[in-house]
Amino acid sequence: MIRVENLVKHYGDVKAVRSINFQVSDGEILGFLGANGAGKTTTLKIMTGFLTPTSGNVYINDMNILDDSLEIRRQIGYLPELNPLYTEMKVYDLLEFTGRIRGLEGRAFHQALSRVIEECGLKGVLHKSVGQCSKGYKQRIGLATAIIHDPKILILDEPVSGLDPNQIMEIRRLIKRLGKEKIVIISSHILQEIEATVDRMVIIHDGKIVADGTTNELMAGFQGQTQLSLSIKGAKEDQLHSLKEVFPDVNVQRVAMEDGLGRVVLEYSHDHDPREAIFQHAVKSNWILLEMSTQRAHLEDLFRKLTVEGGAHA
C-alpha cells in the first residue's frame, strides 16, 4: 500500500507539486494522468526516492521514503520517463548487471531472466547491444530491467509514449498481467493510452489533484452532452432549420447542405433522447435518413475540461 500525504515540491520558485494526497492499495493499477508539466513526473520521482519532497510524506508499506529509502528501493521497480539505458551494453549484460544489483545471482538470476525474456518478448535481441534496438524493444528492455526482481510496486512513467499501436497493446497486456498481484502506477498525458488498462485514475493539473476515482465514478460527476449527426436526403434547408422548433429540447448546432444531402449536427442531454422522434419525423416528412450517429461525451472531454480549465471538483 502506498500513501502520499500533502506532497509539495518546489524547484526554486517553481511550484511543481502543491499538496498532493492519494493512496494506492495492493493489486491496484493506478493511472496518473495530467498534461505535460502538471507534476506527474516530479511526484513519481519523489515516490521512487530520486528526489526529496519540499514537504509532505510518502509511505510505502508503512515505511517512510526518507527514512527507509534503501528498503523501499528494493521493493520498487521503476521505469523513468524517456527510458534511459546504458546503450553501449548488450541486452543480456544489462539485465545481468541490474539483476546482480538486485541481488540475483546464479540460478535465481537465470529464473528471473527467463521470466522477463518471456514476459517482455526479448528473446531475439538478447545479444544485441541496447543502442541498436528499436524504440519498442528499448521500452521493453527498460521494463524488463524494472521487473527483473519481481517488485511489489511498479512505477512506470509514460511507458507507452512514442510506441506504435501494436506495441502499446503488448505493453498494456503485460501491465494488466503484472497488475494482478502488484501495485502498478502508470503515468501518461494521453488518456486513451491508459484508460483501458487502469483500475483507477488520478488526474493532476498544475501540481494539484483535480479528480480521483474509477472511470465510472469520474463520469458520474460529469454529465456531458451527447452529439448526434444526421445525413438526410430529400429535405430542404429551411425544413432542416425548422427542426429547432419541432424538437425544442435539442440544441441544433449546425445545418448544411452538401451535394443535395442535408447534414445536421445537434446535441442533447441524456434524459431527452430524441432519436426515435427524429426518425418518426423523417418518415412523416418523406425524408430518407441515411445516417444517424451519436458521439457520447467522453472521458476525454472530462480530462480536457479538468486539465485546461483547472477543474472544479476533486
Partner: protein, 237 residues
C-alpha cells in the same frame, strides 16, 4: 563492497566497449615511449627518472579525459535516475566508478613496463627500489588526479565542462609549488604541504614517507566524499 564491485565491473566493461580506453592506452603509451627513449640512451643512466618525471605531466590531460564521463554522462543520458533508484548507496556508485577509472590508468602504466625491460637489458647497477617507488608514486598521483576528475565529472552533465574543470583543478595542485615564491612565509609551509610536487618528489627519489601517503590518502578521500555530496545535492529540499 559487493555493489562497488558490480559498478566497477560495469564501468570497466563500458570503457573497453568504447574506443575511449584503446585511444587512451595507445596515445598514453606513445607519449611515454617517446619521452623515455628520447633521453634514455643519451644520458647514459640506468634509471627511469625521465619516465617518472614526464608521466605526471601527461596525466594532467589524460586523467581528466578518462574521468570526464564517469558521472557527467550518466547525468546527461538520464541513467543516473535509474542508478539512484536502485538499492545502492551513492558512495558505492562513486567508488566503483572511481576504481574503474583508476584501473584504466594503472593498465596504462603497465604498458610502460616495456621500458623497464629495456632498462634491465641495457642498464647496469639498476636501483630496483627506486623503480618500484617511482611506479608507486605514479599510481598514487594517478589515484589523486582520478579522484579530482571524478569530482569534476560530478559537477556538471557536460563532459567537456567536466574535462576543463578537471584539468584546471589538477593543474592547480600540480602548479601550487610554483606559487611558493609569492607566498608570505607563514603560508608557504601550508601551500607547500598542499602541493603534489612536494609529496611526489619524495616518492620518485625512492623514499616512502607516511606524511606523503597521508596527504594523498586524505586528498583522495576528500574529493570522493565531495563527489558523493554532489550526488546528494539533488535530494536537497
Amino acid at each position: 563492497m559487493r555493489n562497488v564491485k558490480i559498478i566497477y565491473a560495469r564501468e570497466l566493461f563500458s570503457y573497453f566497449s568504447s574506443p575511449m580506453a584503446y585511444i587512451f592506452l595507445v596515445i598514453f603509451s606513445l607519449f611515454n615511449g617517446y619521452f623515455f627513449t628520447n633521453t634514455f640512451f643519451l644520458i647514459n643512466q640506468s634509471d627511469m627518472r625521465a619516465l617518472f618525471n614526464v608521466v605526471p605531466l601527461i596525466y594532467l590531460f589524460f586523467i581528466p579525459a578518462i574521468t570526464m564521463g564517469l558521472i557527467a554522462r550518466e547525468k546527461s543520458s538520464g541513467t543516473i535516475e535509474v542508478m539512484s533508484t536502485l538499492p545502492i548507496m551513492d558512495w558505492e556508485f562513486v567508488l566503483g566508478k572511481y576504481l574503474a577509472a583508476l584501473t584504466l590508468v594503472i593498465v596504462g602504466l603497465g604498458f610502460s613496463l616495456v621500458h623497464f625491460i629495456t632498462l634491465m637489458i641495457a642498464g647496469t647497477n639498476i636501483d630496483y627500489g627506486a623503480v618500484i617507488t617511482g611506479y608507486l608514486g605514479l599510481i598514487i598521483v594517478g589515484a589523486f588526479y582520478a579522484a579530482i576528475g571524478t569530482f569534476a565529472s560530478g559537477v556538471t552533465e557536460n563532459q567537456v565542462v567536466a574535462f576543463i574543470i578537471g584539468v584546471a583543478l589538477v593543474l592547480f595542485f600540480f602548479l601550487m609549488n610554483m606559487l611558493l615564491m609569492f607566498m608570505p612565509t607563514w603560508l608557504s609551509g601550508i601551500v607547500q604541504y598542499m602541493s603534489v610536487d612536494y609529496h611526489l618528489s619524495n616518492l620518485s627519489r625512492g623514499v616512502i614517507d607516511s606524511r606523503n601517503l597521508i596527504y594523498f590518502g586524505t586528498m583522495i578521500w576528500l574529493f570522493l566524499m565531495l563527489t558523493v555530496r554532489l550526488l546528494e545535492m539533488r535530494k536537497w529540499r
